[in-house]
């Protein structure tokens, strides 16, 4: 590194070229006060407290904003500087309640208070919620201010209550960190400096509530605030935590690190920390505020046994004994297990091991079937490895991003930040989506195609690339195979035809192709919009074809990047919760693999791959499956054609549901087992970028609940299973590592230092940030010829509209966790059917009216939201709300390979509710 030397108060320190003077000062171990400085933000130079004297420089430059130069001589604490600092701090304190900061007795009263502080000269001692965390305290201590000789002004702003936090601008010192983090890091720009002069303040446009100002309640501003001006309400009187536990957010697949602040065995708040590998101090509203469910009064705290149609609390012994007795009757193919993408790797491993080794059934699946099964199938076919090819952190350096079928900023908000950062860095963003998303606002180009026409569009792009000679011939020739067949298949994708089928203007298709092919490195990012189709595998294959065609695989910031929706969907797949794969994608059909696991588990294993999720329900309804062990899933709401699912569950002879709440699905069970949440147990999650990260226990299990790993082991042991004597999940991981080549180098000891991205094949292997570097996992990248297949259910006279589904930022999945959070319910408390104004007008529907939606499978009620975000002919719903259970409508038609249902397209009719 290019280093320079700076002298700070007589000490020579070396810093990198381009460092600021403040960095040099910090490196020298010298403290100087700062208030507006924040390591994630561009230097602002506003608070004027980090001023220094630099020899041969005029005035008092701010250290934070002054670049260090070689040979610079810096003085940080001359009497003149301290005097100026004191005067500036006095000015700041003349508008901030400060008795507490300068009170001569504050040392004496410190032991007797939890958070006691004087709020104002005139009002004496009051509580300040930020005591102990307030940065102004630290600065006042350093400067040693004893009195403030200026007229004190209390600005008398009303305190503004927002969901989760309060804005009390009487405590604001206008450091601007909140504004800058909202703009620079979050790209939201919900707040700004307002007014001028002494009236200057932070606020929203026209002083509207944050909700109306584009705020997403990520609380980055709250975390950046040095005072209590922005203060979350949940813990405001609770004082400092007793301890802090670093763990992983339980929501989406991004894998943000969170720090749980714990006091008296309760979670006080979530501290995003700054050292999370993925999120680096940033969270979304759910991760930041969405953990109320842990302490929710509705948690299951005791096993329940249904007797005469009613649940009766039971002891663990009774419940486990009953389960062991009943399940003993259903060994073999009558048994199925559904594991959970919310559970840890260890737990998922144990569940599939239990199903296979103890119950002798490969009928093990989980919700990946609903989301990324097509990814697993397609990327395995094309590349030989079925995960995100690159890392989340590489997105920011991409020069081109093709975001297709992903509402990244809502569904994966922290990954969305990477996209925003890339755009800010000059990347060209091409968004392919029928709906107008926040991403579209950032996009260089937005292709609004008809839902279900992705193959046509992607193949169309490929054809333009080939025709215009923009393909990476070397890459195609040297690293791939089967190009000719693929090239042949492009003949069917004439540009005009593609434009007609997709509804995207031809020149936009050409422009998108040109950008993707010429701007390197280019990264494809996608999610459920690509996979939840009856041709989901084809969609992903089309994306893989495109990447190989342009050589955008096997290098940083490029690749094909599926974003997984659940915190551990990647891990659940990795450890074998799939009917056709053992841990590490070792095929059941492969005899060598089977032998390996039979040896390891000391048992005989069934030879045929098991049933997939939807097939399990079909088989249950058909009576072929009689017992189901269902962990942490709510298919009654999450799976398509929910009525069908409910009927299937009801027809089972024995259903065990293990969950943290009595979900819609659990209510159908014979026995319900209370599980512990992520906060109550140890384990690991693997995020969407293949990073295995530690989950750490922060509090004791609530009530009589138990970690899933413990429960599964207990059941397995009672059914005579061997190899379930684990006293801690770390032992389970050791077993996983011993049997899974890509996890071989992973152990809890190593994970203490941070997550590891698989493949991590040995004790010293550093993990892998991007795949297929030297060669593809399968050797050569495989081009697949494709043809366009329309979605299976098209709008017609009876059902003239097309329904597509997705997520809201403010809720998660079936709402089991998020709907326990009052603030999230304020932000998004009910289902809203998004409908284009043209359609709304034709149907006579007004904004906010109740409407009824019908499909061939069912009907639901919801409120209409008239918006051009939805294209004409298309309506949009989420699936978070049980009372508007969208999946009563959706089409269970499956992708023939991945068996993933076509959740993204079905035909519906809309009526005003009577």
């Amino acid at each position: 590194m290019d280093a320079i030397t700076v002298t700070v108060d007589g000490m020579e320190v070396g810093v990198r070229r381009g460092a600021t003077v403040l960095e040099a000062i910090e490196k020298a171990g010298v403290y100087i006060p700062t208030l507006c400085h924040h390591p994630d933000l561009v230097p602002f130079g506003a608070c004027r407290l980090c001023i220094v004297e630099i020899e041969q420089m005029r005035g008092f430059p701010p250290a934070c904003a002054t670049p260090a130069a070689d040979g610079m001589v810096v003085h940080t604490n001359s009497p003149q500087l301290q005097e100026l600092r004191r005067n500036i701090l006095e000015l700041i304190l003349s508008e901030h309640p400060h008795s507490c900061l300068i009170c001569p007795r504050r040392e004496d009263c410190a032991p007797f208070r939890t958070s006691m502080r004087k709020m104002a000269v005139s009002t004496g001692c009051l509580y300040c919620p930020q005591n102990g965390r307030c940065e102004l305290q630290k600065v006042a201590d350093y400067i040693g201010i004893k009195e403030v000789n200026l007229t004190y002004t209390y600005k008398e702003f009303p305190i503004q209550r927002e969901p989760f936090f309060d804005r009390d601008y009487n405590l604001c010192i206008l450091c601007g960190r909140c504004v800058r983090i909202c703009q620079e890091v979050r790209g939201a720009g919900a707040i700004s400096f307002t007014y001028r002069g002494n009236q200057a303040m932070i606020g929203t446009a026209f002083n509207r509530p944050l909700q109306d100002a584009g705020c997403q309640f990520c609380a980055a501003c709250v975390d950046a605030c040095p005072t209590a001006a922005l203060m979350e309400r949940a813990h405001r009187w609770a004082g400092p935590p007793q301890h802090e536990v670093a763990t992983v957010c339980p929501y989406c697949g991004t894998g943000c690190q969170i720090k749980l602040e714990v006091k008296d065995d309760r979670i006080l708040r979530v501290n995003p920390g700054r050292d999370g590998a993925v999120n680096q101090g940033q969270l979304c509203v759910k991760g930041r505020f969405g953990l109320d469910f842990v302490h929710d009064s509705g948690r299951l705290t005791s096993p329940l046994i249904k007797k005469d149609g009613e649940f009766v609390p039971a002891s663990w012994e009774e419940a486990l004994a009953l389960i062991a007795t009943r399940l003993a009757d259903y060994k073999g193919e009558q048994f199925a297990a559904i594991s959970s993408a919310k559970c840890t790797n260890e737990e998922n491993y144990l569940i599939q091991k239990f199903a296979r080794a103890v119950m002798g059934s490969n009928n093990i699946d989980h919700c990946a079937r609903l989301c990324h099964a097509p990814t697993i199938a397609a990327l395995d076919m094309a590349f030989g490895s079925s995960a995100m090819t690159n890392s989340i952190g590489e997105i920011r350096d991409a020069a081109c991003i093709l975001a297709i079928g992903t509402n990244t900023t809502e569904s994966h908000p922290v990954i969305g930040l990477e996209v925003k950062r890339a755009v800010r860095n000059g990347a060209k963003l091409v968004v392919v989506n029928p709906r107008y998303l926040e991403l579209c606002r950032l996009a260089h180009l937005w292709l609004r195609h008809r839902p279900g026409t992705d193959v046509a569009l992607l193949m169309g792009l490929a054809r333009v690339i080939v025709e215009q000679g923009l393909a990476n011939k070397t890459f195609v020739e040297e690293r791939c195979e089967n190009f000719d067949a693929f090239g042949q298949s492009l003949n069917n994708f004439d540009l005009d035809w593609v434009a007609q089928v997709t509804g995207v203007p031809a020149f936009d298709i050409v422009e998108a192709a040109r950008i993707y092919a010429t701007v390197h490195p280019a990264s494809i990012v996608y999610a459920m919009g690509l996979t939840q189709h009856s041709h989901g595998v084809d969609n992903v294959l089309a994306a893989a074809n495109l990447a190989m065609l342009t050589g955008n695989v096997g290098q940083p910031s490029s690749g094909v990047n599926p974003l997984s929706g659940q915190n551990n969907v990647q891990g659940a797949c990795d450890v074998g919760c799939l009917p056709d794969f053992y841990p590490g994608y070792q095929a059941v059909a492969n005899a060598r693999a089977r032998k390996k696991f039979e040896a390891a588990w000391e048992c005989a294993l069934p030879q045929e791959p098991g049933l997939t999720l939807s097939e399990i329900f079909d088989a249950a309804l058909a009576g072929r499956i009689k017992a189901l062990y269902l962990v942490g899933e709510n298919p009654v709401l999450s799976d398509p054609d929910a009525k069908h699912v409910a009927e299937a569950l009801k027809s089972l002879e024995f259903l065990v549901v293990q969950d943290i709440f009595l979900t819609e699905t659990a209510q159908l069970a014979h026995v319900v087992l209370p599980a512990a949440t992520f906060a109550e147990k140890d384990g690991t999650f693997t995020n969407t970028e293949r990073r295995v990260q530690r989950v750490r226990q922060a509090i004791k299990p609530i009530g009589n609940s138990r970690p899933d790993w413990w429960i599964t082991c207990q059941i397995a042991k009672r059914l005579g299973g061997n190899g379930f004597d684990f006293d801690h999940p770390s032992r389970v991981m050791d077993e996983v590592a011993s049997l899974t080549p890509t996890y071989r180098g992973i152990s809890y000891r190593r994970l203490e230092k941070g997550g590891l991205q698989w493949p991590c094949t040995g004790k010293r292997h550093p993990g892998t940030s991007f795949l297929h570097g030297e060669k593809f996992a399968r050797g050569k990248g495989h081009f697949t010829p494709l043809e366009y297949k329309p979605s299976l259910e098209q709008p017609d006279g009876d059902f003239p509209l097309l329904l597509t589904t997705g997520r809201s930022l403010y809720q998660f999945h079936t709402g089991t966790m998020t709907r326990k959070v009052p603030g999230l319910n304020i932000l998004r408390g009910e289902e809203l059917v998004e409908i284009n104004p043209n359609d709304a007008e034709a149907l006579g529907i007004l904004e906010g009216e109740r409407v009824q939606l019908m499909s061939r499978r069912g009907k639901v009620m919801a409120k209409a939201k008239v918006t051009e975000d939805s294209p004409p002919g298309v309506v949009f719903m989420t699936f978070h709300f049980a009372e508007s259970a969208t999946n009563l409508l959706t089409n269970p038609a499956l992708d023939p390979v991945a068996k993933t249902p076509e959740l993204k397209v079905c035909a519906v009719r809309l009526e005003k509710a009577s």
Binding site: L91, F193, R196, A200
Partner: protein
């Protein structure tokens, strides 16, 4: 089209215009003209022309800079010079058309001047007029002459030649030329332009930006607006040259949206440029590409700061950011950017055309070329001017600006707008130069220049500028956002009368924090007006803080009523005037008596500062307050006595030396406080200057006697014919305290040859001899040298002593004469002659007294704010007199044995707040401390002395009395809109005055007094 073709076409058009047989009318219709009604004038002209069926060419032009004379209309008839008419109202415009265009009468009565060859009888040449002659117009070269919307006019006048020359040079050569010219940034900071370009040129990067900063935001500044409205192409051509030099491909004009006309004209100009290939790709076939966009600003002052301006163009809130990186390295959108001000850019084409050497021949060593200023405030001729650097402020304000409106006293000039400083009269001779102004605590700034006169409160002025910068702070950094507000709060406290000791130091401390701690220049310079006003006008701050007094009578919380505020003794004038109006004369006198023991004397001869600031004067004439006071004193009887009290004896003895108004006032109050008071008077009768200095025809002796007797009634012992040589003798006599109120009785010598003649007297001795009845003879011709009230008294006394010809010789004009206007009026009325602008050189006694004189002319303004008289060589002449009286002032005669320290002018040095001398127990006041002043000021000093002495003797110093009953609550009366002049004082006829010292003013009768009192507007009620 090549440039040559464009140019010849433009010249042809211009020449055709000049040679046109049609009459041409130019209307100054820039924003300043429009606000004066130019568009209505334009309409009237067009209508009149149509009425006469005249086919004339009517053109809207920019501003000539003579904003005070707007609307301006110029008429050109073939073969005649262009005639410029000023202040053309819509009613006058048709007359001009008819008289001049139709009938050939050029109406010299309405004309301001001619422009161009030839002349017109009775009309001066415009550019020979004093406001234009000293100007050098480079930036404003075309303003007011060309049609700003016609690019051909610009080209025909040399436009775009600079560009063609630049395009033939290398960019480096262009930069070298600009460096050589010495041009510095006209936006305010004065950074060398060529150097700035060079930084940007050398900064690596393919894309570079050029920004023209037209975000002119200072209150009172309109230079940039005028240039953009009057000659937009000069700026745009400057931008092309700058862009070529630095290698920019995109330019922006950042102009505030409040300048709609400038924006419109810029837009038109850009479109014409594009049509001529002067914009866009391959400009004039040179391969140089450049485009310009207009960006409208929202009127934030801070957006004049470069980094805030760039943020604003980028669509962000205009907030400055720290530098480095400098815009030249990383500016707009992170690309190297050069920002120049409008005026800077308007200079560029001329420099390229005429060369750096030509340009740098103007100006000073460090500041080359010219500078435009928006001359505003209390100057007579406000407007937009352009002068070579190095011209003094005085030349700008007096020669070009014509001095102060209504010939009031000049107080200060604010240069550089709200970020600049406020400079006093002493600094008027500073040359206009970046470094010189900075050294004086101000800045050049972008060229705002605001003149303040004596009616401007300096604290209020500082408050005004600071409230502007404070309100315009972007709010980013605490020193500016909070510090400026804290300073403003202190200033507001001071102007509200809540000033505290230490406020000035608090302001200075805060100013330092704001200046040193702020991120950008807005904060860095915001304290300048406060710092400079404290530096140059500290006493005015102190008057506000210590005495709650606003000398300019502006701060309305301090000034309940101007009359009361200006009264040194603080008499509640409106209250007693109201009592008189109600017929309650005793109560009226009691009100006066609450503050002074000499109501009648003051009623006769007070210099009445109260009347000078009377608000009624703004309507018609001031209330005759003095005359009303006299009336109250005459008619008020003894009612006031019932409220007076005398404290029990304190057994302390006070000696008062001198029985003038100061001494006797102190004696009166000290006696009331129970002290034993003895007054020592050197003359044979008490009264000091009241008796010895003021002639009987103004102040009858009986009035003096009566009021002194009333003081004696309170137990004051007055010993006359006693000279006190030293304070020691008094202390030896057992006095506990001494008050020296010895007046200023020694006349000042003329200092010229021959003044020792016995027929040359000093004025005070003369008056003393007359007033004390010592018998004086003056002869037939009396010459009196001086212009004060004493000179007038001497002149009128001399007339009464039988002089046939009395001549006052004064070196300045009547406007500067310190004597009171009504006294001068009376003297002239009685036949006194005054030789103005005349100074004596020597006196020869050759049978007659021959006074050799020289004529004077008024030159530069001195520290007193008046123009200094300078002798005119060779204008000597002689006047013959029998007696010459030197009335050029007096000074105190302080015996050295008194043992008190004296200042220059032999005045006693005291603590201004307590009047204590450097000697324990010795106080001093009146003329002995202030030099010759007025009775009312002496009374005020006597009051102050009584307070201090009482405190010194262990009392509480409270001398306030309540003698009049409280007023009933009253509603605010309707303001009388109608003009009603003051009641004239009845006087003796001229015939009766001659040879008699009988009182000239006869006093009001009851009816007159009540009527006059009712004229009072009672502004105290409004402001209470």
């Amino acid at each position: 089209m090549t440039f040559d073709e464009i140019q010849s076409r433009a010249i042809a058009e211009w020449e055709a215009l000049a040679d046109s047989e049609k009459p041409r009318v130019l209307v100054g219709a820039a924003t300043c003209g429009r606000s004066a009604g130019a568009l209505a004038v334009l309409e009237a002209i067009n209508a009149e022309l149509a009425k006469h069926g005249i086919d004339a060419i009517v053109t809207q032009v920019g501003c000539l800079g003579l904003c005070y004379a707007e609307p301006l209309v110029d008429i050109i008839k073939q073969g005649q010079p262009r005639i410029c008419y000023s202040s053309v109202a819509p009613e006058i415009a048709p007359q001009l058309v008819e008289d001049y265009i139709v009938n050939g009468n050029p109406r010299p009565d309405l004309a301001l001047g001619t422009i161009g060859d030839g002349g017109v009888d009775g009309i001066p040449r415009l550019f020979d007029l004093p406001m234009l002659k000293p100007q050098v117009r480079i930036v404003l070269r075309n303003c007011g002459h060309i049609d700003p919307e016609n690019i051909n006019h610009y080209i025909a006048n040399g436009g775009y030649i600079g560009l063609t020359k630049a395009l033939k040079m290398s960019p480096e050569e262009v930069i070298a030329e600009i460096k050589k010219s010495g041009l510095r940034g006209r936006g305010g900071a004065g950074f060398p332009t060529g150097l700035k370009w060079e930084f940007c040129r050398k900064s690596p990067g393919r894309e570079k930006y050029l920004i023209c900063n037209a975000d002119e935001g200072d209150p009172g500044a309109f230079m940039d607006r005028s240039v953009l409205e009057g000659d937009p192409h000069s700026v745009l051509e400057g931008m092309l040259i700058a862009a070529y030099a630095i290698g920019a491909t995109q330019g922006y004009v950042y102009c505030r949206a409040e300048y709609p006309l400038a924006l419109e004209r810029l837009d038109i100009a850009l479109r014409r440029m594009a049509e001529y290939g002067l914009l866009g790709q391959n400009i004039l076939g040179s391969g140089f590409n450049f485009d310009i966009k207009i960006k409208e600003g929202a009127g934030a002052f801070v957006c004049g700061e470069e980094t805030a301006l760039m943020a604003s163009i980028e669509g962000r809130r205009g907030m400055p950011r720290p530098r480095p990186p400098f815009p030249a390295q990383s500016g707009l959108w992170g690309k190297p950017t050069n920002i120049n001000n409008v005026e800077t850019l308007a200079n560029i084409p001329v420099i390229m055309d005429k060369g750096a050497d030509w340009y740098s021949s103007y100006g000073t060593e460090g500041s080359k070329g010219t500078k435009t200023f928006a001359l505003a405030g209390k100057a007579k001729r406000t407007g937009l001017i352009e002068v070579p650097m190095g011209m003094t402020l005085r030349q700008v304000i007096y020669d070009i600006g014509g001095g102060v409106v209504d010939d009031k006293r000049f107080k200060a000039v604010q240069t550089g707008g709200p970020s600049g400083g406020c400079l006093p009269a002493e600094l008027l001779d500073l040359p206009i130069d970046y470094e010189v102004l900075t050294k004086a605590g101000s800045i050049m700034g972008s060229g705002g220049m605001i003149v303040a006169d004596e009616d401007t409160c300096i604290v209020d002025l500082a408050k005004f500028f600071l409230s502007f910068t404070q309100a315009e702070s972007c709010g980013k950094c605490p020193p500016c956002r909070v510090g400026a507000k804290q300073m403003l709060d202190v200033l507001e406290g001071i102007t509200r009368g809540e000033g505290q000791p230490g406020d000035i130091e608090r302001l200075l401390g805060l100013a330092e924090t704001v200046r040193d701690g702020s991120l950008c220049a807005l904060g860095g310079t915001a304290p300048n007006p406060v710092l400079t006003t404290i530096r140059y006008f500290r006493d005015e701050y102190e008057a506000h803080i210590k005495r709650k007094h606003c000398p300019a009578v502006v701060c309305k919380e301090l000034v309940i009523a101007p009359c009361r505020h200006t009264c040194p003794a603080g008499i509640d004038v409106p209250r007693y005037v109201r009592f008189i109006g109600e017929g309650k004369f005793a109560e009226a006198l009691a009100v006066i008596r609450e503050r002074i023991p000499f109501p009648s004397i003051c009623g006769h001869v007070c210099i009445h500062p109260c009347e000078t600031k009377c608000r009624r004067a703004q309507l018609d004439e001031a209330i005759a307050i003095r005359a009303l006071k006299r009336f109250a004193a005459e008619q008020g009887g003894q009612f006031w006595r019932s409220g007076t009290t005398v404290a029990p004896p304190s057994h302390k003895r006070v000696a008062i030396v001198g029985s003038g108004p100061a001494g006797l006032t102190a004696a009166y109050y000290l006696a009331e406080l129970g002290h034993t008071v003895t007054v020592f008077e050197a003359l044979r009768e008490p009264g000091g200057m009241m008796r010895a200095g003021i002639p009987e025809y103004r102040l009858p002796r009986a009035v003096i006697d009566r009021e002194i007797e009333e003081i004696a009634d309170f137990g004051v012992e007055i010993r006359t014919n006693v000279s006190i040589g030293s304070a020691d003798e008094l202390f030896e006599q057992g006095f506990d305290a001494v008050f020296l109120a010895i007046g200023a009785h020694r006349g000042i010598k003329l200092g010229i040859e021959g003044e020792d003649s016995p027929r040359v007297m000093d004025c005070i001795s003369f008056l003393k001899n007359v007033n004390l009845g010592n018998g004086v003879e003056v002869g037939g011709r009396v010459g009196i040298i001086g212009g004060g009230n004493s000179a007038i008294d001497a002149s009128r006394s001399a007339l009464r002593l039988g002089a046939k010809e009395v001549t006052i010789i004064y070196r300045r004009t009547r406007a500067e004469m310190p004597a009171s206007e009504e006294e001068i009026e009376e003297a002239l009325h009685e036949g006194v002659q005054i030789q103005f602008l005349t100074a004596p050189i020597k006196i020869k006694e050759d049978g007659v007294l021959s006074l050799e004189c020289i004529r004077m002319k008024l030159g530069a303004v001195d520290a007193s704010g008046r123009q200094r008289p300078e002798p005119i060589e060779g204008s000597e002449f002689s006047l013959d007199f029998d007696t010459v009286i030197a009335a050029i002032g007096q000074r105190p005669d302080v015996p050295p044995q008194m043992g008190v320290e004296v200042n220059r002018g032999n005045v006693i040095r005291v603590d201004p707040d307590t009047l204590a001398t450097d000697r324990e127990g010795v106080f001093a006041g009146g003329d002995a401390v202030s030099g010759p002043a007025s009775i009312i000021e002496a009374i005020a000093a006597g009051r102050q002395a009584a307070i201090s002495i009482d405190k010194y003797l262990g009392g509480n110093g409270i001398i306030d009395e309540v003698l009049a009953p409280p007023e009933e609550e009253m509603a605010l009366p309707e303001v009388e809109e109608e003009e009603r002049h003051r009641i004239q004082m009845p006087c003796l006829s001229l015939g009766e005055r001659a040879k008699s010292f009988a009182e000239v003013e006869l006093g009001f009768d009851e009816e007159m007094a009540i009527e006059e009192a009712k004229r009072c507007l009672r502004c105290d009620l409004e402001l209470r």
